[in-house]
Amino acid sequence: MTEVRINQLHKDDLPWIIEYDESKCIQCGKCTATCSFGAIKPAIEQRKKSCSIAEKNKLEKVIVIKQELGFDNHCRGCGMCERVCPNGAIKAVRNTDDRYSIRYRAQTGQSVKKGGRSNLNTEGRTLDKIKIGRISQMTDPSLDAVRHTFEIKTPFGRVLSADKLNFSVNGDKLECSSPLPPNRFIYPIIMGDMSIGAVSWRMWEAMAIATAYLNEVYGIPIRMCTGEGGIPVRLLKSKYVKYMILQIASGHFGWNRIIDAMPDMVEDPAGILIKIGQGAKPGDGGMLMANKVAKYVQEIRGVPKADLLSPPTHQGLYSIEESVQKMFLSMNAAFNFKVPVAIKVAASVTSVSVYNNLLRDPYNIVGGFFLDGLAAGTGAAHEISLNHTGHTITSKLRDCYKAAIKQGRQGEIPIFAGGGLGQTGSFAADAFKLICLGANGVFSGRLLLQIAGCVGNDTERCNACNTGLCPAGIASQDVCLTKRLDIDKVAENLVNYFIATDLELRKLMAPTGCSSLPIGRSDTLITVDKNVADRLDIQYVC
């Protein structure tokens, strides 16, 4: 008999407990074959055969399925074993008495790491406390969401106020003699912002295909952001690069390849996004664990196989002025001032100062302000950052928008808001509310994974994206796992989701009487929460 000691890890320490019904099990082995974490294994147990005197010491051996007890291979509750079991004999059940986060720290001396979103949802979602309450019935012309035409586009790029434009009349033409910064009218949703490496090559390509398809086949001018891990040269040199926003973060990964490919590019990219910070783990740089740094990731990024921890800030940027001067100017110059350049920061108490500073932008080169809230997702983070740092998106977006209004400069630097959007399943509702609060557009990442088949959620299910063992083949570079993912199905699901979202956006625009985006139309919003009403300056109702 093996001894049991109190300090050993036991299954009641773990977040998920395997519930197994031996009477239903036929030992088909599918569950153990499927579990990418190796969290269950076949085992041999003994059963007493009979209580008769003659056979009282006779034991029978049986094969059972048993849960593994370990920090590396504990069950994540992904549910794949339950999916494959032909008899419903096995499933992972949430352990409400879990002591994992204490035991892990106590035993390893490490901080807990994981993927997904914050799992400490103490604040509730402000967006869910807001409803669209201004319905035009006899006040404005009614619109039909399905059949009327809506102008669902938003500027991406620096917008100059009228007094900065020198108009003159030349014959029967109105001409503008001041140079205009690049500006593109795009769909108000930007997808992606997940790097090559963080997600599998099939997932990344499926997002790119979905983006191209939505543009080319449905005429929905949606854009995708590459994330900080570079971009495949084949895509860079194709016409589809015009739908891609190239990201540059502190690691500058893949940019040498972009620079190298410039003479061969047939189209300009949709934009450049300078990533300073991200909402899921503000103050922390990107983090890609070595087990996901596959060979192609190493090549595109120009790094060896190692844990890739991007520095939290861009080395060599010490102030907002300097970042405008160095990053914005250089990125604008890189594409000859023809491509809008925006910046992404984690929402923070200080966001308004940053935005105000950018608004001064004397060179007209700041083309967008991406504000990422604390409910944003990530492929890998320290749990402490994920759960305890950051700033909610709603009020900070509102603060920035109102700061611009105060100066009469709203819309000059378009604001894009993100972080946990679509958490309740409907992206359109979140998007619409944020747009009414002042966002020009919104962006989303984590939701795309869930559309693709990720089983993770915000109550500690799976979220093992950092391990490289993603059971859905999404956050992995492993061949066996990635090939579980059907690239066409994923792209199709993404396309369908955004077509549904487009319809749902119109379903909100129509009753509010808006045939174009209601940016800053906070009069359409109401809330039953007095604090929310006061803070966001929207109508309180009861």
């Binding site: 599918k30 084949r234 895509l235």
Partner: protein, 357 residues
């Protein structure tokens, strides 16, 4: 019986719409059928009226009316408006013949379900919206000599509209902007430029039936509006088209995502220069290359007890005459049962997971 003459204003004293309509109703009750109404903007004239005199139709000769002339008018009613009219002429027309010698305001012919509306000028926005055809009644017709405003024929479900595009030189579209949105039925004949109509309708050439209809209909129309002289110009069919809704299947026919990837996407995929992806999709609990782990047998340790063979759920393990055991890749799913049951640890599982290279 002589004609009833009603003046909408007399000695600076304007009759209310209600008073005027009730006066008409009184006269109808008395059996009058002909009315000359010199209106002063009173609304709803000519609507929902019927003749109390057997065999005689109602005739309204109207000047200077308000909105909704002939709205909800019935079969057996003839309305002549000398001059232009404001909005909603022939709204929900249920069988009347309405002639407007002038322009009409917005939403003319809105929801018209039967009868004929002839306009010798232009009509405003959203005209012809929601026209419909109930097969138990005559097909509604809506003839316009010149052009329509934007958003016209929205949600049209049936009936025939004819936009003759006369006096429209220089217009980008004789249907304004964004017309025909949500049109699901009916036909619009149109002469001249057409632009910016809904994507769910199609602009087609006329066939012989269409020409026949236009030829006979045009004669009645031009006679009614006193413009017979325009017949030659307007019957030059080279300038005509017809608009019909696309059949439902055509509306949804789009290339599939898979087809798009295969035919329009970057050949070989964007990672094709790094990764050889055969595009196969592994199920959960896959065999062969899709296995996460695979068993390896060690001859030295095996005592030939056959426990693995007997317990392998997929009968993947066999042994040859020399007692060499092997596991068949195409059957084995890598479940580790052989490893577990082997008393001598002759089977061990090798991790098959490997990152892409």
């Amino acid at each position: 019986m002589e004609k009833v003459v009603i003046n909408g204003i007399e000695n600076n004293d304007r009759m209310s719409t209600q008073a005027l309509l009730q006066l008409i109703e009184e006269k109808l009750e008395e059996g009058y059928t002909d009315f000359e109404i010199n209106a002063c903007g009173q609304h709803d004239i000519g609507g929902s009226a019927w003749s109390r005199t057997e065999g005689k139709e109602l005739n309204f000769y109207i000047t200077n009316p308000g909105q909704r002339v002939g709205a909800m008018a019935r079969k057996g009613t003839n309305i002549f408006v000398n001059g232009s009219t404001p909005a909603d002429v022939g709204w929900l027309n249920s069988g009347a013949n309405i002639v407007v010698k002038g322009d009409c305001g917005d939403t003319a012919g809105h929801c018209a379900a039967s009868g004929k509306i002839y306009v010798s000028g232009r009509v405003g926005t959203r005209s012809g919206a929601l026209m419909k055809h109930d097969p138990k009644f005559e097909t509604p017709q809506f003839w316009i000599l010149k052009n329509t405003g934007s958003f016209s024929f929205e949600f049209m479900g049936g009936g025939i509209a004819v936009v003759c595009g006369y006096d429209c030189a220089g217009l980008k579209s004789v249907l304004g902007k964004r017309s025909c949105v949500g049109m699901v039925g009916g036909i619009i004949y149109v002469r001249g430029n057409v632009a910016d109509i809904a994507k769910t309708v199609s602009l087609k050439e006329l066939d012989d039936e269409d020409k026949k209809f236009l030829k006979s209909g045009m004669k009645d129309f031009l006679t009614a509006i006193d413009k017979k002289g325009l017949a030659d110009t307007l019957l030059d069919f080279s300038e005509w088209h017809k608009i019909e809704p696309l059949p439902t299947e055509e509306k949804v026919k789009k290339v599939s995502v898979r087809e798009f990837r295969k035919t329009q996407w970057i050949e070989g995929g964007i990672f094709g220069d790094f990764i050889e992806d055969d595009m196969s999709i592994y199920p959960l609990a896959a065999t062969g290359k899709g296995r996460l782990r695979q068993p390896v047998w060690n001859k030295e340790l095996c005592v030939d007890c056959e426990l693995c063979m007997k317990n392998c759920p997929n009968s993947a393990i066999t042994k040859d005459d020399n007692k060499i055991y092997s596991s068949c890749d195409d059957k084995c799913i890598g479940c580790s049962i052989c490893e577990t049951v082997c008393p001598k640890a002759a089977w061990t599982m090798k991790n098959n997971q490997k990152e892409v290279d």
